[in-house]
């Protein structure tokens, strides 16, 4: 009886697990062999784009709601189903916003570089969508399995910086250009810690393929501590650096220098209106989702379940859960922290994150060399690795913040 029960459970589970693939194969089954490959790719692309476009719509409302709740106000709660009194907590808001954006006049400044002004949002969106190609959304659910997947991700991500520059330059507006230069300085500065923080992962997983890295994180110690990279000293430090750099790379608060509305109006977005503005907005959210997805893949075990018995739930659900958690933290940080000044921002990158990332590389080497330590000396391994990270962290942090804190208030108490 129980054996049969387990059997049913396993097959139901594997069915659920492979449901997206089965659905895809079912739709393209009638096609000839040569066309099937193309159809399968198109379906994959369409699914990813549609899924993230709807996630974007959802995120805009969720973000406004989260910000509102943090600031103790209700947030958008009026738009529901039209012509009825059903409000659904304001869930109709993204649709209303979309219609507004689409019907707005598209203004191009007369002095603007017409071609570049048009190309910038298109290029930005295209490159952000490209980055989704190598993220494994679930077991066997990776749009494009590449041997050098991580490299591909960062190559496609690097190209988005160019679009920001194009937008700033083409607008022919001093605020736009200033913002674009700031954005470039910021993006280049944070590219470095971002890349350095993932080197230990690539090193210890021995693979540049995203699928391979996720598979390396399978299994549990003592049956409940997952083998995710974030649960090692170098992984935790790497994830922290990655997360801060990702915040800066996606121009999110507290690093939203490029569009600091209080001093640069809206930065490189100043001269954009209507649908082009919406495209920028969308690309920014796509970039954020992609970086979070990469963070989940590299450090948080990708689609792996956190506990063995939770593996019943299909893998893509776990990926989505982790992704949404990270996105929520992004929003939370935006609501909590004030914006940094440009010199503070670059100093943080060059004097704090880069040295720490380099030290973290050394710690990862130590970790790899001591992989055969077992039993009691395992504790020593943890202590040494932890001290190697925490020590420099405290020292560099104290050095950098000397003279800044604690702040004294002369006229206030």
């Amino acid at each position: 009886m129980s054996a049969a029960w387990t059997n049913i459970a396993t097959s139901a589970h594997s069915l659920l697990e492979r449901l997206p693939l089965l659905a895809r194969d079912f739709t393209t089954d009638w096609l000839p062999e040569s066309a099937r490959w193309l159809a399968n790719s198109l379906i994959t692309i369409a699914t990813v784009v549609v899924a993230f476009a709807s996630l974007f719509a959802l995120l805009t409302i969720v973000e406004r709601k989260v910000l509102a709740r943090v600031q103790n106000r209700p947030g958008p709660n009026r738009v529901g189903i039209p012509f009825t009194k059903i409000k659904l907590f304001g869930l109709g808001q993204p649709l209303a916003d979309g219609i507004k954006m689409l019907t707005k006049e598209d203004i191009v400044p007369r002095a603007a570089d017409q071609v570049l002004h048009f190309l910038a949002p298109v290029a930005l969106l295209a490159f952000s969508i490209l980055t989704f190609a190598v993220i494994p959304f679930g077991r066997q659910l990776v749009p494009l399995e590449l041997d050098a997947g991580v490299l591909y991700f960062f190559a496609a991500g690097a190209a988005t910086e160019l679009a920001v520059f194009m937008a700033g330059w083409a607008s022919h507006n001093k605020y736009s250009l200033l913002a674009a230069m700031r954005a470039l300085a910021q993006l280049i500065s944070y590219e470095l810690p971002l890349l350095l923080s993932i080197v230990p992962v690539v090193m210890l997983a021995g693979s540049l393929s995203t699928v391979g890295i996720v598979e390396k994180q399978a299994g549990w110690t003592w049956g409940f501590v997952p083998h995710w990279h974030v649960f090692t000293p170098w992984g935790a430090a790497g994830f922290a650096i990655f997360f801060v750099a990702a915040l800066a790379e996606s121009n999110r608060s507290p690093f939203d220098r490029p569009e600091a509305e209080s001093e640069l109006i809206a930065g490189h977005l100043t001269e954009y209106s209507g649908f082009k503005y919406a495209l920028f907005f969308m690309a920014e959210y796509f970039g954020m989702c992609a970086l979070c997805g990469m963070g989940v893949t590299l450090f948080l075990g990708g689609w792996q379940a956190p506990l063995p018995f939770l593996e019943i739930i299909p893998s893509y659900f776990w990926f989505a859960a982790k992704l949404l958690t990270l996105l929520f933290v992004f929003m939370w940080i935006r609501a909590t922290l004030p914006r940094l000044r440009i010199d503070q921002l670059t100093r943080l990158a060059w004097k704090f994150l880069v040295p720490l990332a380099l030290i973290n590389l050394g710690v990862a080497v130590f970790w790899a060399l001591t992989a055969d330590w077992t039993g009691a000396i395992r504790a020593i391994r943890w202590i040494v690795a932890g001290a190697l990270i925490v020590g420099p962290f405290v020292l560099i942090g104290r050095k950098l913040s000397s003279g800044i804190a604690p702040r004294t208030y002369r006229y206030a108490t």
Binding site: L146, L151, A158, A159, L162, F165, W169, S207
Partner: protein
């Protein structure tokens, strides 16, 4: 397969040629970046995935940024990125020299009998690249590391302003 190659080649060459002839420096730089992307496409076509991604990451992600920064830091007025063309004599001489080199190269390529290529496409995995970087080419890797560090320091030293000198001026 060959059609794809010709397409990539024509796109790359056109963007490069137009970039070299344009008067607006920013447009030139952006078109050159397109041309570098075309070269990356060629690498992808040839099956050298890793090199293609490295090309995009370094040229489109890094060198392009440095170029754009240099363009914007070295212009006199706001609108001044249009540059005076070189004198006609220089252009003509350059075209003659370039044409001569092209003629020699094309002649050489067309007249050489190449050994028949092996039918199998060479494949190289990231693992192989890593192993040869850490094995046979380890010394070269170290030298490159030193070179990059020196270049970084040199660039910083060259580009920093001497504060004392500035105060005198």
């Amino acid at each position: 397969m060959t059609a794809v190659l010709i397409l990539i080649a024509v796109a790359t060459l056109c963007t490069a040629a137009v970039a070299m002839a344009l008067r607006n420096l920013i447009h030139s730089a952006l078109l050159l970046i397109a041309s570098w992307t075309g070269i990356a496409a060629f690498y992808l076509w040839a099956g050298a995935e890793f090199v293609a991604f490295a090309q995009v990451l370094i040229y489109v992600g890094a060198i392009s940024m440095v170029v754009l920064f240099a363009v914007l830091l070295t212009r006199q007025s706001r609108a001044d990125v249009a540059i005076a063309p070189g004198s006609l004599g220089r252009v003509v001489l350059a075209l003659i020299a370039g044409g001569a080199v092209l003629g020699v190269l094309v002649g050489a390529v067309l007249s050489t009998k190449f050994a028949n290529s092996s039918a199998t496409t060479p494949t190289v995995t990231v693992k192989q690249i890593g192993q040869s970087l850490g094995g046979a080419h380890a010394a070269a890797l170290l030298v490159i590391g030193v070179l990059l560090t020196v270049a970084l320091l040199g660039a910083v030293v060259l580009a920093t302003t001497d504060r004392a000198e500035k105060e005198d001026a």
